[in-house]
Amino acid sequence: MNWFQRTKESIADGTTKKELPNVWIKCDHCGEILYKKELEKNLNVCLKCSHHFRVNAKTYIQLILDENSFKPVNKDMLSEDPLEFTDTKKYSDRLRTTIEKTGLKDAIQTGLGLIDGRVTALAVMDFGFIGGSMGSVVGEKISRVTDLAIQNRVPLIIVSASGGARMMEGALSLMQLAKTSAKLSIMHREGLPFISVLTDPTTGGVTASFAMLGDINLAEPGALIGFAGPRVIKEATGKDLPPGFQRAEFLVDHGFVDLIVQRSELKKTISRLLSFMEANTNKNLDLSQIRV
């Protein structure tokens, strides 16, 4: 049954070809064969073992925000190729083909929306776009949506899914760690709430910057979260990794994630947390009046 065969995951273009040319999907975790429609209805969470399948940014936007309330910003921002980077192919070609294949502009979508009527700034990453890697566009869009949260005194939610900083933009990618964290330092100073939602996987430079800086860090069950990748750690230390290493539950045990949240509970949980943290926010905003 070769249609169950999982194609090798490519780090360079970040795509995971798990989808079967069929109405059935096999759960990576428990091996259960699931009816695709049912799985989707269950928010892409395995009906047998609760394994959370990776989903795209659009799905999270629909899941978290009130219906049709999303007002995207900087939709047409595009990566350039400032280093004229070439490995086995040109970065500019890689960008073009990824844009064509995914229909996305880059690895993040940002904007304003409502969560139970409360105006909130939101950024959601797409792992399917070059492994959710952070280059200049991801950094700049997070930076700008944080500015928007500060200007309007509203909360910020960032849903991360990323292999880390984008190699093809070299030190410019690295500087996005500093840039996004610097903007969050203003949020922090202003007493505005920031909730970081870590999904599978969140590693490298994204974890080492904004994703770990939430007033509250939430994670989806089983999500891989860490600084160095498991393979790198194994090579560097020569040790076997303990079971459950770098999974969301491990992060909770070690004190770096506040709470693990089932996907079905995500909006409700965020909304509850925001009520507690509303002190310095502007609660009387009308989303339709905000110019973005």
Partner: protein
Amino acid sequence: MPVTLDFEKPIEELEKRISEMESMATNVDLSNEVSALQKKLEELKKDIYGNLTPWQKVQLARHPERPRSLDYIERLCPGFVELHGDRLFGDDHAIVAGMGKLEDREIMIIGQQKGKDTKSHLYRNFGMPNPEGYRKAMRLMNLAAKFKRPILTFLDTPGAYPGIEAEERGQAEAIARNLLVMAQLPVPVVCVIIGEGASGGALGIGVGDRLLMMENTWYSVIAPESCSSILWRSWEHKEKAAAALKLTPEDLLRLKIIDEIVKEPLGGANRDYEAATVFVKEAILRNFSELEDLSSDALINQRIEKYSLMGHWSGGDH
């Protein structure tokens, strides 16, 4: 015996010939020949060191005899008081920190510290910090802020340590927290890359008002070997990766990531610690004096603005 890198071999050979000739000179007068060769040697050095490839810069940045943070610190600030520990878990030997007096200025100095021989390499964990190193740095940066003292950091690491315990203790959180805290420090912060600037591990003490880079150093999001192994799926393409990453001081000045390149003695800082210290000291003092009259708010605003401008993109709403 000094360590010679592969591309330095022609220099070493010529030096050997000159010294052989000089030892023969007691019997015959070879002074003309010697001075001709010495002239040739100077030209050869200028040619080789003046045209280093990105990979050769990486090699020099990793030179085993290159001065480390403490080599500069003891020359810049005699009487340096090293302070230890993050008050949470332990003391990391891959990051040194403490109080020093640079001419008439009291400053906090924080540096990533590599070793020089097997024993000290192990003691310093090859310059790869654990979370407690970043947290010690943060504690002492906050202390400097409390007492209004400027901060100097030296970056020199092959990366934050990729270990099991490092992950358990929150390597990512430790680095991330430093980025946030450093953005808001109300005192001048000058950072100098003195060797290797590998990714988040270096950046974890590298957010400041000024970023200076010594001539034979590198700074990027990933080491060339690791980049080669991921993108080319083999370790063999490190030279190509080093070139592609644009990791040299000249590239980074052009990309507006660093503020200044600090000169080194010909052949690299490893050849003359005193001369290297003179160059770096002049640059540090000059940058501190440019920053010292700014108010805390101005410093913080300018620093955040500086990072806001970094990156290249097209489109967007404004």
